[in-house]
Symmetry: D2
Subunit: 381 residues, 4 copies
C-alpha cells in the first residue's frame, strides 16, 4: 500500500508543485487519478468497500502524499474527519450509504463547523436547525470549509433552534437546495487544497441525517483523526526540505568544498533528521492510540469519555512547532535563490505554517492540554 | 523630516500593500512621488544638493517607509550602498556628477556584485575588466541586482583581467551599450522592490569610472550603510505587525472578552514591543558609529582599517532574528484568516524573511563576527 | 575610570570566582578594596563627594565587574536604586547626609520592598507605618533584600496605616532598634552578593525620613537605574563565557584540528558576539535615556509622568533572554568537564539566570510593556 | 512492576532530594533498598535470574525513578550499557557469571571508555592492552566513569598495543590489582550519581575477558540502551517540574486570582504537557525498536550492521532539547524563591542539563545523524 502511494506521489504529485501552488480548480485531476489508482479514501473500512487502512498506516501515507504536495494530501485525507463521525455516530443505514459511496466513487466529505465568530471556540456556533415533521431545516454561515464545493456530502454543526445548548452534526448532501458557496479562500499556502466560505439557507434534510449525540463532542472525537494527519503532513514537508537541501548541497561550493562536507550544514541536517524522527514517532503513537479505541466492538462510549486525545493534541502542536523549526532552517538554506519562486522552499515554508494554525492554534491546544490533562491531577502521567 | 516621511508613507504607501505585493512594474509611481515630495535619496550630502540626513536619522526614515511597504523602502534606500562607495572612493568629479544627478533627479544606483557562484563569497566573482586605452571594458554575469533596470548608474564589481587578485568597483552608466537585463526575479517577498539578473557584455566606460582602492573592501565599507538600513526595515515591519494585532484584538472576542484583555495576547505584544525597542536601539547605535566615521575630514583611511563594522553586522543579524520571531508570533495571531490573502500578515512574514538573507545570511555574518572580532583577542570588547 | 575598574576586576575579582560562589560572609573584603580603590558607589554625584559617573558609563563599569563576578557587581551597584530615590525624593538635608556618608564610607543602601505575598505585585505590600508625633513607626516582613544586613541605611516601602492606598518610602537607618535579619537566602547563583529576609518591628524614625511622593512610583523611578545595571551584568557574564570558550578552543582538538577552526564552534561564537553587541547597545541607550531625564534641573516631574522607561524594561528583559541564550550555548560548550565544578561555566549559567528573574520576571515586564506602551496607541513608536 | 517502582520512588527517593543533591557517598542506602525491593538491574534477562523487563518498559521505570531523583535513576540504570555489551558480545560463561551476580547481588557495572583527549571522539582512546600468555594486561587513564568505584565489574575500552586500529572491550573486575580511582567528580547536577576519574595500571585479566568484536562498535550498540534511558530521565524530571508548578500555582495569587486560572501559566503548562507526551512517545518508540533487535535469536549480526539507532540518537537529542525547554520555563516559574535552594527547581534545572551532554553532546549527535542517516540517501525515510 505504502509503496503504491509513494509511486503515485512520485509520478503524479511531486513533479507538479507549481501547479498545486497555483490554487488550481478543485478537485484537480490528481484527485481523480488517486481514485483510479485505487487509493482514494484509503481509511474507509473494508465492510464499506474501502481499503481499511488504519490511522497508524495513514500517517505514513499522508507523509508520502505531503512530500509531493501538502495541499493535495490535506484535500485527500480531510474527509476522515467526517467519515469518522459518520461511522461512529451515524445510524448504520445512513453511514453505509455514504461510506460505500465515498469508497466506490472517491468523492469527499466536507465539514461545516467554523464560523466567523466561532473559530477556535465552537461553543459560539450560531448555525441553527429546526424540526419540521420528519425533516430538519438548517441555516447558517460557515467560514472555513475545505473541499466543500466538490464534496458529495457535508457534515454541518448547528444548534437546535429550540434548545440553545443542543449542538448536533447534520449530514447535508452537497446537492441539497440552499447549499451555497460564498467564495473560495485565497490561501497563503496549501493551495493544492480548496477551502471555502459557505452558506446554508433553509436546507431541508431527513431527520435521520442528524447524527447521534452531542455535536461538539462528536466533532472533538473526529478531530483526533484529522489532527493526527495534519501533523503527519509536516513529516512529509520536512522530508522534502531535507532532500532539497541535500540536492542543493551536492552542487553548492562553500570555501572551496562541497556544502555537504560543511559542519554547519551537517548540523542543520542532523537537527532536521531528529525532528523528522520525533514527528513520525509522535504521530504514529497518537494514531496507534486512536486505532486501539476504534478497534473496540463499540468504540463510542470510551471515545465519548475521552473526547480529544492528549497524544493527538500533542502531535498536532509538536509537528506544528517542529515543522516551523524546519521551515525556518530551510528558508535560510538556499541563499538568495531560496527567496525567489524559482526554488520550491518558499512554498514549503508557507505550507508548513498551516500545521500550527488549522483545527486549533497552539494557544487553543495548550489550553486544552492544560484544562483536560494537567488540571485534573488524576489524568497526569 | 521624519514627520514628512511618515505622512508620505501614510498617504502613498501603507494603503497600497496589495499593489506593492503584486510585483508591480518598476519603478512604481510611488518612487516618483517620493521624489516630488523632496524625499528621494535623503542621505545625499547637501554639498551635492541632497538633504544630507545622517544614517542614524535614516534608521527612523526607513522604519517609517517599511511600515508602509518594506519592498518600497528597500528600493528607496538601497542606492546608499553605491552612493557611499562613490562618495568615499570615486574621484570628486565623478562623484559630484552622479551624486548631484541622483539628488536632483531622484534616480537610483544599482550594484552588480553577486554572481551565481559568488553569493556570500565575493572572492569568487568572475566578472572581469580589461584596460583599453583610457577606457576599461567590463563583462560578466550578475545574479541579484536590485533596481538594476531603472537605475541611472550601476556599480559593478569585477577583477582586473590582468591581475586575478585585483578587484575593482567600476561605475557603469545604465545606458552603456552591453548592459542587459536577463530577467526580473519573482521574489517571495519584498515584491515592491525590483531585483534582476543582469549581464555586462563588453561595456566600455572611461578609466576614471574605476573607483579607487580594493573593490571588495570598498563594497564592505558601503555594506555597513545598507546592512543597517536593511535591519531597520524589520523595525517598521514589526511595528506594523504590532499595530495590526491591536486592531484585530480590539474587535476579536475570546472567552467572552476582548482579546486586548487576554493575558497570553498581552504577553505576545509585550515581547514584540521589547524586540522593537531593542532593534531600534541597535540600528541607531550602529548608524551612529558609522556616522562618526563619516564625519571625519577624510573617512576613508579609518574605514579601510575597520572594514565591516561589528555593530552593523550585529544589527542586520539581530534584526533578522528578532524580526523572524515577530513574524512567527504574527503568523499565529490572526487565526485562519491570517492564513489567507485577505489579511496582510502573510505578506509581512514574507517580507520579514529577507532581513536574515540579503547582504549576508546569518551563517556568513556569524563567520565574519567570529573571524574579525572574536579570534583577534585585541578586538574583543 | 573604566580602565581602573577593569584593572580592579582583573586583580581582585576575576581570580576569586570560587570564593564568591561560596556564599562568603558579607560584605566581602573585596567591597572594602573597591572603596579603597576609590571606586565604590561610583554614581554618587560629585556635589555629594562622589565620582558622579552617569548611568551610561555605569553600564560598562558593571559589565567589567560582572566579568569578574556578577554577584559582586550586583552587591556593588544595587545601592543605586536607593540613592536614586533619595536624591530625587528625599529632602535635601536627608539626602545630603546619607549620600555624603555613602560616598565617603563606601557603604551600601538596602531596599525593603518585596514581601512573601508581594513579589511582582507591589500593590499587595502589607508593611505599615503610623505617625507618632514627629516620628513614624514602621513594621513589616520583607522577603528579598540584598545587602540589608551590612547596609548603612534601608529604604522601606510601606502603607500608611491610616490610608491603605498611601504607599511611602521610609528611610530606616540600619541600626534602628527593631530592624531584624531573619535569614540570609541560600541563592542558586549570584552568591557573591548577600540577600536577606528581614523584619521591621516598630522601628521609629523621624518623620522627615519619609520620602516625598507616592512610594510605588518612587520605586518605579528608581528601578529604571537598577534594572538597566542588572541587564548590564549579562554583558559581562556573556563576555566571560565567550573568552572561556576561546581559551578552551585553543587547546581542544576536534577531528584533528583545533576547535577554534571548527565552523560550528565559530558559528556559536559569532552568535554570542552579536548578542553581546546588542545587549551593550540596548543598555547604553536605556541608560542614556535615563541620564537625559536626570540631567534636567528638576528631573522629578518628568520622571513622575514617565515612571518606568520602556527602554529600561526592554533592556532587562532582552538581556535576560539573550543572556540565557548565551548560558545555553555555554553550558553545551565544554563537554563533560563543563558539567563539573572544575569548570566555571556552571556558575556563569546560574548567575545568568537571575537577570530574567529579579526586579520583575519576564511575564511581569511583558505585561508592563503592553499596558504602558502598547495599549495607549499614542505611546507606541 | 511499574507500580512497585512508583511506590518505591515515592517512599525512598522523592522525599530525599536534598540528600541526593549533596553528592552523598556512593552507593547510597537507596541503592541497597532498590535491591531489597527486588527492583535492581530490572532489565537483566530472567535466564540469568533477573526480572527481564524490556527497554520499552524501562523507559517508564526510569521516568518514575527520575521523578524522584534523576541522579539516582542514572546510577541505577547505567549498568545496562555494560550488561548489554556483555550479553551480546561476551562468551556465554563470562556473561552468565557476571549477569547472574548482578541480578542476585544488585551490584553495578561501570564503563571505562572516555578519556581526557577522547570525549566524543572515542577513536582517540589511548588506553592499551597487551597479550601476555592467556592473559591480557590493560593500562590507561579514564575520564568519566559513573559507578566505577562501587561497581562489581568494569568494561574498559582499549586498543591492542600490537594493532593500533583494534579496539576491544575488556571486562575488568573492580578488585583487579591496578584499578585506581583518581577522584570523584564534583558534578553540577545529577549529584545522586557518582562519577569518577579512574586509572588502570597493568591490570591483568584472563584473555577470555576480552569481548568479541570491534570494541567501538560494541560500545555503540550498547549506547543505544543507555542513551534511550538517559533520554527517559528527562520525562521524569519534566513531570516533576509540572507537578511542582501545579502545587505552587494552587496557593499563589496573581492579580487577585489563583495562578492556576492564569492564561499565561496555563499556556506554559500546556506546552510542558505536550513536551512530556512527545518525549515519552519518542523514548518508547526507540526502545521498542531496540527491543525488536534484541528479540531476534541472534541479535548481534543485525545490530552490528545497524550500529547506533537513529531513533535512539533522536530520543537523546530531542529529550535534551525538550528537557531544557522545560528547565527554562521552570526556572522562571517560581519567582525569587525559585532562585534559592529553598525550592527544588534549581536542582531540576541542573539535572536536566545533563541529558544533552552525556554520551554525545548535541553537536556530536547531529553529526552522527547526518553522516549515518542523511548522507546515505538509501537510509533516509
Amino acid at each position: 500500500m505504502l509503496d503504491r502511494v509513494r509511486a503515485f506521489a512520485d509520478a503524479e504529485i511531486t513533479p507538479r508543485s507549481d501547479y498545486f501552488d497555483s490554487l488550481p480548480e478543485a478537485p484537480t485531476v490528481a484527485t481523480a487519478r488517486l481514485h483510479e489508482a485505487g487509493l482514494a479514501n484509503w481509511w474507509i473500512p473494508s465492510r464499506y468497500g474501502g481499503i481499511g487502512a488504519d490511522l497508524e498506516e495513514s500517517v505514513d501515507i499522508v507523509s508520502e502524499l505531503a512530500y509531493g504536495d501538502a495541499g493535495f494530501a490535506f484535500g485527500s485525507f480531510l474527509s476522515i474527519l467526517g467519515t469518522t463521525m459518520l461511522r461512529l455516530c451515524g445510524e448504520e443505514p445512513l453511514a453505509r450509504t455514504h461510506l460505500e459511496a465515498l469508497a466506490a466513487g472517491g468523492g469527499s466529505c466536507g465539514i461545516l463547523a467554523s464560523e466567523e465568530q466561532a473559530g477556535s471556540e465552537l461553543g459560539r456556533i450560531a448555525a441553527r436547525f429546526t424540526h419540521d415533521g420528519d425533516q430538519v431545516v438548517i441555516s447558517g454561515d460557515k467560514y472555513f470549509a475545505t473541499n466543500a464545493d466538490a464534496a458529495d456530502l457535508l457534515l454541518a454543526v448547528a444548534r437546535d433552534a429550540d434548545d440553545d445548548a443542543d449542538f448536533r452534526v447534520v449530514l447535508v448532501p452537497r446537492d441539497t437546495p440552499g447549499v451555497e458557496i460564498v467564495k473560495r479562500w485565497d490561501m497563503v499556502g496549501m493551495r493544492g487544497s480548496a477551502t471555502y466560505q459557505a452558506r446554508l439557507r433553509d436546507c431541508a434534510v431527513p431527520a435521520a441525517h442528524v447524527l447521534r449525540g452531542n455535536g461538539l463532542r462528536n466533532l472533538e472525537i473526529g478531530l483526533n483523526a484529522s489532527r493526527i494527519l495534519i501533523a503527519a503532513t509536516a513529516i512529509g514537508l520536512a522530508r522534502r526540505v531535507r532532500d532539497l537541501s541535500m540536492e542543493y548541497a551536492a552542487v553548492k561550493q562553500v570555501k572551496g568544498s562541497a556544502l555537504t562536507g560543511n559542519a554547519v550544514f551537517a548540523g542543520k541536517l542532523g537537527q532536521i533528521e531528529m525532528l523528522i524522527d520525533v514527528m513520525r514517532n509522535q504521530c504514529r503513537a497518537a494514531a496507534a492510540e486512536f486505532d486501539r479505541y476504534m478497534a473496540a466492538p463499540d468504540p463510542l462510549p470510551s471515545l465519548y469519555r475521552t473526547g480529544t486525545l492528549r497524544s493527538a493534541l500533542a502531535a498536532k502542536m509538536y509537528c506544528g512547532q517542529a515543522g516551523w523549526q524546519v521551515a525556518t532552517i530551510g528558508s535560510e538554506m538556499f541563499g538568495g535563490l531560496g527567496y525567489t519562486h524559482d526554488h520550491p522552499i518558499g512554498k514549503l515554508v508557507r505550507d508548513l505554517r498551516y500545521v500550527g494554525l488549522v483545527e486549533g492554534g497552539d494557544d487553543v491546544v495548550r489550553d486544552l492540554l492544560y484544562s483536560r490533562f494537567v488540571v485534573p491531577a488524576g489524568k497526569r502521567r
